[in-house]
Symmetry: C2
Amino acid sequence: MPHIAREIDRFQEFLKLQGLKLTNERTALVREIFSTHYHFEADELLFKMKEKSVKISRATIYRTLELLVKSGMVRRVHLGEDHYHYEHVSGNAHHDHLVCTTCGGVVEFNDPDLETRALQICEKKKFTPTFHNLQILGVCDSCRRKGQTPEAPDRVQMIASRPKQLRK
Amino acid sequence: MPHIAREIDRFQEFLKLQGLKLTNERTALVREIFSTHYHFEADELLFKMKEKSVKISRATIYRTLELLVKSGMVRRVHLGEDHYHYEHVSGNAHHDHLVCTTCGGVVEFNDPDLETRALQICEKKKFTPTFHNLQILGVCDSCRRKGQTPEAPDRVQMIASRPKQLRK
DNA sequence: TCGTTAATTGAGACAGAGTCTCAGTATCTC
DNA sequence: GAGATACTGAGACTCTGTCTCAATTAACGA
């Protein structure tokens, strides 16, 4: 997979600039993240690696994710749950999320008009923005067809989440 | 304070509809939330009550907040930290947040154009929205004047947070 | 290729936010 | 006022995430 090799190179370059090292663990994680996952949780990554019998500790997972975020290759986002989700950044295009509170599905969108408007608001408030994060919670088309009706606005606080894997 | 009495009534009405009871603890929490705080954390509330020598357990705090969220009187929001913040809903006007990553300050804004655009996006994606949550992270005017420069976009992940109170 | 040095790793302790259980207590309704 | 039922507090527990420290490994130069 040439595409993944490129990501690994990109990461290595970043590491070198910081005087840091590319290890087997870091390589394996970049490979995993950029090959299959899109939105994922740290714990999920830990589980996947265990499944593949690649031994990587929780501490290393979190440390590597932090580096990937710093390098700009991975983004840390809130999707309405009480912990972080991560997503890899391939096209570099900023985007936001529609999160279905019924099935937990996530749809991305990028809307230049919305971005522009957000910048105008910042300007008006003399605020220097660096990052923004918009989640719209609701019910996706296919869940709605299945008869799911949305909760009253402002009361939706939980989204459907996958069953937890065992920790150890 | 007639205004707070009204909020308590509102909550009681909600509780009655659900076959639930208004207790001293719940009343005290509504009073606290609607009298002084605006954005607050569960733990902060716990601490304030302790300070006032009103004995309320953590479990009750969380249980009551959940009810208040269900009733629509309180909203649960992410402000860029890894745990929830709450805010009471008085005017019922939806708003979003500018969060300063330097001082931790929060500025609210409500922008009809932005809301409209968000709805249009949902329509296009056949998504039925119920709630949305937009945080713009960056540096506020007064911090910028003090010479704080923003981090590179997409790499800002932490915001300044107040020192933690002791748990117990 | 080898040795040195400094970064990295894993195990497990720790911390913070939030949930759950259960026995004792308070509220609401009649 | 009594009974039924919901509520509370204490503390155990879970989950996410961080930290420490001894042992390991990558990277660089000779």
